[in-house]
Symmetry: C2
Subunit: 660 residues, 2 copies
């Protein structure tokens, strides 16, 4: 009398990923409720069981559902937002400003739905997440029928969902309580990274994870710089630091682990910490290539993740498995390392250990949950099929199969994808809603990109400060005569300095956008501070007045402030159409002339074909009336200094140099 079951997947190549590495040609998997009840040859299982439904899997591989060990699933809404920039530009210029403005509960919910749809389509059944409003991630994952470990991010800075980390930890506790005991969704805590947290955050997170018996999720050793700074500050690698603050006293999952070494692996292995490199993201953000072979040899439970779709840009875990097989070969010169079978284990049997769910998932065995993917191997790109060697099915899955070959996806015995149709997410609706949110971000960024001031404010968090200046320039013959005249009775010198100024102008085809000047100012006079001062100045054309006598210009700086990032950052961030460099030796005086404050410069351009030296007289102004008064004073000063009308120049240095 055959046993009753719900579903029999039959006729495919069953790749169990069990301890014996069983592969069953013409195999079958029997499912009752949420569980696998048997795995074996199809003819045996067909006799043994009476299935409510029999699914013909001829020509397909039946594999364990894939486990994405590190993701930020709501970030699907930021996919393709910006690419090919440095990490700081990516984070500070784009991700942080956009997230602080747009990440809401709705964002996390819709973004997760979009990601769940993509993951189900590409064979992922379990994901480990770290983001904001993680309760919404959990809700969307649950509704989609997926298995998920949802980590609420905690940072020492304000986040979109918490003004302080205390509040963040409170939110996290409530979140963990709410989802406690759920069949598929684990709510947990995710201290973001050692460089964004404090010892206290890690300790509090470990206490929460211990109390609820959930995994603690964190980022470790993503970049070489992170490691270097950790060693400088704490004399500990990020892994060793995490151990020291108790993060590994509980089940832990450490994303990335790109820059880890033998000592780190010993720690990870000792505590059973799951490591989750994210090959595409690690390449794209230029973090490097994780030491897969080393970690595996050291007995670390290595999983694999997609990371967030803002840096990947997809959530195709098979592609990550493919990279995990390819990259270690390419960089080591040894084509035998991380063979296909081991690469697939990263997303299945070993991945399950990495995320602390090996008792439930990761292999096709009686008693485990029925999280199963059926891959159709009858595509052009998976033809032909070789089977003479026992490992050829792994080769075919890892090196040839694509996400688009996923035909069925089941979690807990339930079809989430069936014959390539999504059953638990309304694909068209979620694409529409996702695009609607992206449209708002797109409009915000479009506006910001066209407005340099907005773009500066976005990264600086500073206030706008308009400065008008009147300014005259002259090409002079004898700098020493001018300097001597300044020491005459007409002027009171309040300060005299000498400097070398390196100015880089970031310019745009449309002059109305203005230009950004990055200045490195080195004082050369005795006793001055040695370290140069960098400033960033946005200048826009002063359309208001262009008719002062004596070649006087009115200039308008929309913004000026210390430049706390590098020139490289600004160059990449502003993406100018033209860059002009001006280097000058400047002697600078602050003088009082008839109770008004003026700056007087004598400049010698370095490496320029322009004549010179040049004299500049400048003064800040606040009204047209004040400007007219100062223009009159400037005319007098020019006379005192012996400068004639013919010597006056109406061009700025950058305009002179831009001609060349």
């Amino acid at each position: 009398m055959p046993e009753l079951i719900d579903t029999l997947l039959t006729g495919g190549t069953v790749v169990t990923m069990d301890g014996d590495g069983r592969v069953i040609e013409q195999g079958a998997v029997a499912i009752r409720g949420r569980d696998i009840v048997a795995v074996g040859p199809a003819h045996e299982l067909r006799e043994q069981f009476a299935a409510g439904e029999t699914i013909d899997c001829a020509g397909c591989a039946i594999i364990p559902g894939l486990i994405n060990a590190h993701a930020h699933v709501p970030m699907s809404l930021l996919r393709g937002l910006v690419a090919d920039v440095q990490l700081d530009v990516w984070l500070l210029g784009y991700m942080f400003p956009v997230e602080s403005k747009f990440v809401t509960p709705e964002f996390s919910y819709v973004g997760t739905q979009l990601s769940c749809a993509e993951m189900i389509r590409s064979g992922t059944t379990t994901f480990v997440d770290m983001y904001f409003y993680e309760d919404e991630v959990a809700r969307a994952a649950d509704e989609a029928g997926m298995r998920a470990i949802c980590g609420q991010s905690v940072l020492r800075f304000p986040t979109p969902d918490a003004p302080s980390y205390d509040k963040g930890l409170e939110y996290t506790r409530a979140f963990m309580q709410k989802w406690q005991g759920h069949e598929r969704v684990t709510a947990t805590v995710a201290p973001h990274a050692p460089y964004t947290c404090t010892d206290d955050i890690y300790r509090a997170a470990a206490a929460l994870a211990a109390e609820f018996d959930t995994p603690l999720i964190t980022h470790l050793s993503e970049t070489a710089r992170e490691n270097k700074e950790s060693l400088q500050e704490r004399k500990l690698s990020p892994v060793a630091y995490s151990e020291s603050v108790g993060a590994f006293s509980v089940k832990a999952i450490a994303a990335h682990c790109v820059h880890t070494d033998e000592r780190d692996w010993a720690i990870l292995s000792k505590h059973g910490v799951g490591a989750a490199p994210c090959p595409s993201s690690n390449l794209k953000l230029a973090s490097g290539i994780a030491p897969f072979a080393g970690m595996l040899a050291a007995g670390v439970n290595v999983g694999i993740g997609t990371d967030g779709p803002a840096s990947n840009d997809d959530q195709d875990l098979l592609n990550e498995v493919h990279l995990a097989a390819l990259l270690p070969k390419g960089v080591s010169g040894d084509p035998t390392i991380v063979p296909a079978r081991q690469a697939l284990a990263l997303a299945t049997s070993l991945g399950a250990k990495a995320v602390h769910l090996a008792h439930l998932i990761g292999s096709l065995e009686a008693g485990k949950r029925a999280d199963i993917v059926v891959l159709d191997l009858r595509a052009l790109h998976t033809t032909p099929r070789y089977s003479y060697a026992p490992d050829s099915i792994y080769t075919q899955i890892v090196y040839s199969a694509h996400a688009s070959d996923v035909r069925h996806t089941l979690v807990d015995g339930r079809f989430l994808l069936r014959d390539r149709q999504l059953l638990t997410v309304d694909e068209e609706r979620v694409k529409r809603e996702g695009q609607a949110i992206a449209d708002r971000i797109n409009a915000f960024l479009g506006e910001r990109e066209s407005n340099l001031l907005d773009k500066i404010v976005a990264i600086g968090g500073v206030q706008q400060a308009e400065i008008f200046e009147v300014q005259v320039k002259a090409c002079i013959a004898d700098a020493e005569a001018i300097a001597a005249a300044l020491n005459g009775p007409a002027f009171t010198i309040t300060k005299a300095t000498e400097r070398t100024q390196y100015d880089t102008y970031l310019m745009f085809a449309d002059p109305a956008r203005g230009r950004v000047r990055y200045r490195e100012d080195h004082r050369r006079d005795p006793g001055a501070r040695l370290d140069p001062k960098s400033t960033l100045t946005l200048t826009v054309p002063a359309a208001e007045r262009d008719d002062f006598p004596h070649a006087v210009l009115l200039s308008r700086a929309r913004y000026t402030a210390p430049a706390d990032r590098s020139l490289r950052f600004y160059r990449e961030y502003f993406q100018p159409e033209m860059i002009v460099e001006v280097e000058k030796q400047r002697r600078r005086w602050r003088v009082i002339y008839k109770d008004e404050d003026f700056a007087i410069n004598i400049d010698r351009l370095v490496g320029s074909t322009e004549p010179g030296p040049f004299l500049e007289i400048k003064s800040r102004t606040w009204s047209f009336r004040d400007a007219e008064h100062k223009v009159a004073l400037i005319a007098e000063m020019l006379e005192h200094l012996g400068v004639s009308e013919e010597q006056l120049v109406k061009q700025e240095y950058v305009e002179m140099e831009a001609k060349h």
Copy 2:
């Protein structure tokens, strides 16, 4: 009055890849016959032209057809044959034996059809090939409607289609004559690589390419070893060598260029040689990562290829473009290099220069051929779409889009793929025919894998040689007493040597398969040659007789020969289930006893827990009668040497050691 055209692709984002990098949102491409007649905003082109057929491309990107600059398309039939092994095992153990046995005109024709179907589906419109029976490649490519540069391989060794390179060059000339003047298919010559060719081959190939004005195709600097050997042998890098033998006096395409440096780039750039790295294959075979950024900065015309599907394992060029964008970032630490737009150029505008077809293809411009791909960007993994930044369409195509997003593929204005339906290749038939050929290879390999002798013969090209030996072994107390007895009157010593022998046994669960012994034999006696001798011996159980007296064994070696490859090679090639190592110090005598030749060994096992030393007496035998005669002589010899029955041992050393 609107102009008549055949086809208007309208409403998509037209990514022209032209010199100005024009991207036209809501754009259109007008096609008449084989040519693009206009590219512009959809509303303008709809007014300007009356189209026989208008194709709505809303939500899609319209891009130039992709150019696969290096492939071996018939090798699709070998996809997934073997993976995760060293290059020598891959080539000598699998590719060469299989190719020499199975590559026929039919193989090249069917394999090309399969590849064309896959390439058309994934957006490739032009490919550059190098294989055997290239006339069949050209025929299949022509029938599929693709554009192709088909290079007939020439090597200094016999190939499946030519017993010598003279014949190969004759075949090539006839092939080139036959296809001369074809609209889409260029027949040309492909000297395989500097390490497989001669100067003469390169010179003859360059002469052919000059005569027919076609590109010369070759492999250069794929591996570090190739470079090292080239520098040792010729004091020239492979690139410099190719220049020296005239290969760059004609249009040339150099595949791989992984291990090239500034000097090589200067040569490639000077001669306009196209470089075609193959990222997936270069990783999988552990060759390395090509210096994309360096070559691009040096002005080399860099294309990109898939290489053969036996090492890739797909022909998905978008995936290679993706890797070309990711890998240089990951290894350099600079995420700004090879940005998406430049990566896409490798497969389009710059790729066209690399394959010397930039006058026809590579960009969407009036006057060029209508080789066009329409990518549907409305999938989950390409949602949402950002458009605020000019380069975001490249980001989306390079980092998010997959081969499965290709909706239409046109070559010369003709649809080869339309709404994801192949129009010029019968997909089901070609999959069936491809699998049928693979089934024969699969059977051959299955047979070979189960038969160690076949597996040895496959790589050795040697003849089988059966050797039977009678052999007796004893555990002795006093080696010196035996040595003294051998100097007695009963024996005539013809040779005496001392050796250290390192034996590695490759063993299998099924003892009937036999075992393979790899021996390194070091002579230690004065005056002997210093270099060790390596031999490979296959021993199978001698089922014929097991009942000789005096613990005499009959052993049967199916094969023994110098081992001309490394132990590592054999270990990987035979994939033994168990490996046993035996090291021994051997004193060996060749003696004549009663006119028969015997070998007598006194062996001391090194690092073993077995007692010893051991005495062995062996002799070759050819018949049971001869064997019985020698067994009787051995009994006498044992008496002469003072060895009793109790001292006899019926185990071989490997069996003693295997127990531990």
